[in-house]
């Protein structure tokens, strides 16, 4: 079996949002719709403060709450673990958006554009009416993965078979691959580093691993 997962190394991430814009480009999402983005989190009180950058988006859960509440069967789970949305089936009820504990889903009823409510040539040519009025979210760039596999490429290794956010990451913080493959890049990362998954206690079995070592300051 294959299960594709994302790994984010929080000790590498600098919150630059290059992944956010690469996703916006590759998936041609509308302004303010960020399937991938990076949170800027702060904890503690001055002067003992920590700041952490945390990439978020659909966690492609093994037990996805969004799928269970979907009345139209638009949200499905692929054999490789990717949670997909069939825009033709989706009725735009937004139950899934409410059910998702990761706030990963978006819905918009009308096109919006970067400037003045009018599309630029680049927005016009990429416009996808199918996305209006339906739920949308990170697909793990499943179209890139599928095309890459057809070309005998390895997702997470070959850029043409890898999600755009991973390809773009300037700090090499984001990684992608098959966690079921014990020899894969992501298995090695997860096996060899302290890590956590977000809201694991909810039983969603998310497919997004966060590597994080606490800082140790000698006094």
């Amino acid at each position: 079996m294959t299960r594709y997962v994302m790994v984010a190394d929080l000790n590498r991430c600098i919150g630059c949002q290059t992944c956010t814009v690469a996703c916006r480009h590759t998936n041609a999402t509308l302004p303010e719709i960020e399937w991938r983005r990076v949170l800027d989190m702060e904890s503690g009180e001055f002067p003992d403060v920590e700041r952490l950058f945390v990439p978020v988006g659909c966690q492609h859960c093994a037990d996805p709450p969004c799928m269970h509440v979907c009345p139209s069967t638009a949200t499905r789970q692929r054999d490789d673990g990717i949670i997909s949305i069939d825009y033709d089936l989706c009725i735009g009820c937004s139950y899934c958006a409410v059910a998702c504990p990761y706030q990963a889903r978006y819905k918009t009823d009308r096109n919006r554009f970067a400037y003045d409510g009018k599309p630029m040539p680049s927005e016009e040519i990429l416009m996808d009416e199918k996305r209006l009025g339906v739920a949308q979210k990170c697909t793990f760039c499943s179209d890139r993965i599928d095309a890459g596999l057809e070309a005998n490429l390895t997702p997470g290794v070959d850029p043409d078979a890898t999600p755009a956010c991973v390809n773009s990451c300037i700090a090499n913080a984001l990684h992608f691959g098959d966690i079921e493959d014990r020899e894969s890049n992501v298995s090695a990362l997860v096996d060899n580093s302290p890590h956590f998954r977000m809201h694991e206690e909810l039983g969603t079995d998310p497919g997004f691993y966060y590597l994080w070592r606490r800082k140790s300051v000698e006094e």
Binding site: D9, N11, R12, I14, G15, C16, Q17, T18, T20, V21, A22, R24, H25, T26, A28, P31, E32, E34, R37, V38, L39, D40, E42, G44, E45, F46, P47, V49, E50, R51, L52, F53, A114, Y115, D116, K118, M120, P121, S122, E123, E124, I125, L126, P159, A164, N167, S168, C169, I170, A171, N172, A173, K215, S216, V217, E218, E219
Partner: protein, 916 residues
């Protein structure tokens, strides 16, 4: 009719050089000829130090191209009145009319003479963004060269926004216009506001620091707010603003007073620095009367000998009685000593910091003494003194510790202290220009003999490297510089090279134009013609309201513009310039460049049109050609291109691709020749590739040894010493400059002259600031209890991306980008909640914005991220983000000896309106 046709998809290779750290490589995807997506250049994996990736800014290029607010036709002003509140009355005109109008003004200058009655060039040219516009400017440098005298002293950000003082001393001491840690090898990096992986260092620094963290590097960040770099550091120390030098002096104290000499890198100090040079009673080196060489004390022979005596064992500590020596002071003043006490530079250094204990520094900086002491000791222990590393068959010292600075630590008052103390600390452990330590990467001032960094390591005086000081002796001093900031007259450290206009005090240019400086000199006229390119001084300089009054008086301003903005609001002619994805230029790639842009290969990369220019936009090479022809300079312009104005001579030994100077050549023909010359030059004639090859392949690289990253081997080879710790030449120059200025009745530069110290005394900058505000604005210290700081963000640093929706959108994912960061607890005390509108007020201006509360900012600091405050730039003005610049005073008391100012000021804050 075609239906469901698959659009034609192409990927085209080009570069991003929107900030100083580029060029970085990318590909642009087009669908049916429309640019749609930016991607990394995956083919550069393993070659580009960040594997062909580009930072967030490059992804804004598509919007930059298609932004509907672009200026797409030439415009002329119809309202002769200029001012922030004057409507320019733009009228669209043809290129023909625009160029004829501009050429008419330029030809008028050529008739009247290139310089005005004050000796200042009548034509001025201003660019911004760490000179990165040069990588978009096509063949315009050839026009400038053909023209002759051009004033580039009218700043848009140089001096007050740059690493000014570090540029100068970095080049003087170790050819480091920018100074960086050897991140791939460093193990312990101390940053004082160093923001390399947050914004300043581009994609390469981001990658290298992430790799270093994975490797276990320890990074300590001193900074008044918890920046991106602070967040990723091992430890953030919220230092009080403008007290960095206190911590650095205390670190010197720990190494020099709490450790025996043998703990330091004695060999490095003895043989590769001026530490053993003997200082005489008048503060100048004791010299051999015959050869005039500085003396050292030879422990083996028990006597003073010239510094270059091979067999000597130089003393580092102590004072020695020297028989028969001379001292040479300012203006050839000579002291002859039959017998004199000489103190080593090292001993003088030790005594200089005797009182600067960590306990003292703790009271100044808010950093506990035990932490300062621990960090100083860690710096020493991590230096691995005595260890070596092999690089390409050469054995080099390995010293993996580095101290590095960010903006406002390395410019303005206090910068000399910081940079001096830092570089001296590096010499104490031998970690200067060796693997793991601090290194320079670029020369822009000391390139009188070419701008290849290693080739600038040539002998100057006294066993040190040559440096092109502007002369200060009576016969040679230039009392009337041909620039409005008088860099040849006032700032000897600026030199007289291609970049020296930018390193003179551009604050002085503006203040002189305003009649607020240099009162004994005539007030300069504005330039008859002012060109601006890729800069917006009405947004990025200081005290903007006053700046606007000055710019309104400029008689003829021409801007090459992307959108309307705060500066071209004052222009007479606005020309639409082809953007990044619309034009050709071949530029150098790799080698060692800005900050952490160090490669192990070197070559050339092409920018090429991904799409045809929008509207009437024209590329700069075409504009240059047209101007050259209209001003009768075509032959000289072509000759300048042949001589190398486009980056490489078109004719040299082994190849000849020169243009016929009598003919006019279109831009493709020019860049085709440049491509051929560059490839021939790079490969010694093995490969000659024209424009079409570069369009297909993007770049051409050849391996370069990483030995080229380090100056140390070249210093050893040439037998030169690093000019540290004592600054005898600098001291002499300062005294001579004082003599020249006083002889000509100039007293108004005295405060700056005090900066010319052989070893800088520590200065209380808060007091300096409070006194200046009291003296100039009758303000009490308590009136302005906060420091207003600013910092860059990767989304917007350099690059003119304020009007890019995508970048503004994702910038909002980071705290404080849309407002003013205030400490949460302090804000609660003041009754300010997150989202409230607050006013920040300084002695010269006020700015309103949204309060954003965080714990990661000192309670006595407010922070504005980026350079906002737009009132004209489309899109950006609607964001209503505040900017610091109208609040930062231009004031003679706040200009340091090298001519730069801090990008900060003291402010008060108050609640304007609570959010609903």
């Amino acid at each position: 009719m075609e239906q469901n046709r698959t659009p034609t998809r192409r990927k085209i290779r080009t570069y991003c050089n929107q900030c100083g750290n580029g060029p970085d490589l990318l590909t642009v995807e087009t669908l049916d000829g429309v640019a749609t997506r930016i991607e990394p250049d995956f083919a550069a994996h393993g070659v580009h130090p960040a594997d062909g990736k580009v930072c967030v800014k490059a992804y804004g290029l598509v919007q930059k191209l298609y932004n509907p607010h672009r200026v797409l036709t030439p415009l002329k002003r119809t309202n002769p009145k200029k001012g922030m509140n004057e409507e320019p009355g733009w009228v669209e005109i043809s290129w023909q009319e625009a160029l004829d109008t501009v050429a008419d003004k330029l030809n008028g200058i050529r008739k009247r003479g290139l310089k005005d009655e004050n000796g200042n060039p009548r034509f001025a040219f201003t660019i911004g963004s760490a000179a990165s516009p040069m990588w978009y400017i096509g063949s315009f440098p050839a026009f400038i060269q053909a023209w002759g005298d051009v004033d580039r002293s009218i700043g848009s950000g140089t001096t007050n926004k740059c690493y000014h003082t570090e540029h100068i001393f970095g080049e003087l001491w170790h050819r480091g216009f920018t100074v960086l840690p050897d991140t791939p090898r460093s193990e312990y990096i101390i940053g004082f506001g160093y923001n390399a992986d947050g914004a300043a260092g581009g994609v390469i620094a981001a990658r290298r620091h992430a790799d270093a963290r994975a490797r276990g590097v320890k990074r300590i960040q001193f900074e008044p707010h918890l920046s991106v770099s602070g967040a990723s550091a091992t430890e953030w120390l919220p230092i009080k603003a403008k007290t960095d030098s206190a911590v650095l002096y205390a670190m010197l104290h720990v190494l020099l007073h709490e450790h025996p000499l043998t703990d330091l890198d004695v060999d490095f100090l003895k043989n590769h620095t001026a530490s053993p040079y003997l200082i005489g009673p008048n503060g100048f080196y004791l010299r051999d009367p015959e050869t005039r060489k500085p003396l050292i004390w030879d422990l083996a022979g028990g006597q003073a000998v010239p510094h270059d005596q091979a067999a000597a064992d130089p003393a580092l500590e102590g004072c020695f009685e020297v028989i028969d020596a001379i001292e040479i002071g300012a203006d050839h003043e000579l002291w002859t000593h039959a017998r004199a006490s000489g103190m080593t530079g090292f001993e003088a250094l030790r005594r200089h910091v005797a009182d600067r204990s960590p306990e003292w520094a703790a009271g100044v900086s808010d950093i506990p003494a035990h932490k300062i002491r621990r960090i100083a000791n860690e710096f020493l222990s991590h230096a691995r003194i005595g260890e070596t590393v092999e690089i390409d068959g050469h054995l080099l010292p390995f010293r993996p510790v580095a101290i590095v600075f960010g903006k406002s630590v390395n410019n303005g008052w206090g910068a000399y202290e910081c940079i001096w103390a830092r570089t001296v600390l590096q010499t104490l452990v031998g970690a200067l220009e060796v693997p793991g330590g601090i290194i320079g990467s670029l020369v822009l001032l000391s390139g009188a003999h070419g701008y290849d960094r290693m080739n600038t390591v040539i002998a100057g005086e006294d066993g040190f490297m040559f440096y092109p000081f502007n002369p200060t002796t009576k016969n040679e001093w230039n009392p009337r510089s041909d620039s409005r900031h008088a860099h040849l007259t006032l700032t000897p450290m600026a030199g007289d090279g291609i970049y020296s206009h930018n390193i003179g005090s551009t604050v002085i240019s503006w203040m002189r134009l305003q009649g607020r400086a240099a009162e004994t000199w005539p007030r300069p006229n504005p330039p008859d013609v002012w060109f601006l390119y890729r800069c917006n001084p009405m947004n990025s300089f200081s005290e903007l309201t006053k700046l606007g009054e000055s710019i309104a008086r400029f008689p003829f301003t021409v801007t090459f513009s992307y959108t309307m903005d705060e500066t071209n609001h004052f222009a007479d002619i606005v020309l639409p310039e082809a953007m990044d994805l619309e034009s050709y230029q071949l530029i150098p790639l790799g080698g060692t460049g800005w900050l952490e842009s160090l490669w192990s290969s070197k070559g050339w990369v092409l920018r090429q049109p991904i799409v045809e220019p929008r509207g009437e936009a024209r590329n700069f090479s075409w504009i240059s050609n047209e101007l050259a022809r209209r001003t009768g300079l075509l032959e000289a312009y072509n000759a300048a291109i042949n001589a190398g104005a486009c980056g490489v001579p078109l004719k040299a030994e082994g190849y000849d691709h020169a243009l016929d100077v009598a003919e006019e050549h279109d831009e493709k023909a020019v860049w085709d020749r440049v491509c051929k010359a560059a490839s021939a030059s790079l490969t010694d004639g093995e490969e000659v590739h024209g424009l079409s090859w570069f369009k297909e392949n993007g770049n051409l690289l050849r391996p370069m040894s990483t030995l080229k990253w380090y100056l140390f081997p070249k210093m050893v080879e040439t037998g030169l010493r690093f000019e540290l710790p004592y600054q005898e030449r600098f001291l002499r120059i300062g005294k001579q400059l004082a003599n020249r200025l006083h002889e000509t009745g100039v007293e108004w530069w005295d405060r700056q002259l005090a900066d010319y110290e052989a070893m800088p005394e520590w200065k209380d900058l808060e007091k300096l600031w409070d006194d200046a505000l009291q003296r100039n604005y009758q303000a009490a210290a308590k009136d302005y209890p906060f420091w207003l700081l600013t910092t860059r963000s990767m989304q917007h640093a350099w690059g003119a991306t304020a009007s890019i929706q995508l970048l503004a959108e994702v910038g909002n994912n980071l705290a404080g980008q849309d407002g003013i960061l205030v400490n949460s607890i302090k804000a609660a005390e003041l009754g300010i909640r997150d989202g409230d509108e607050i006013e920040v007020r300084s002695a010269v201006g006020a700015m309103r914005g949204t309060a954003r509360l965080r714990h990661g900012v000192r309670p006595d600091v407010v922070l504005m991220i980026g350079q906002w405050g737009h009132w004209k730039t489309p899109f950006a003005k609607d964001l209503k983000r505040p900017g610091p610049n109208d609040l930062i005073p231009m004031n003679m008391d706040l200009i340091d000896g090298m001519g730069s100012t801090n990008e900060t000021t003291k402010v008060a804050i108050s609640l304007v309106e609570a959010r609903p």
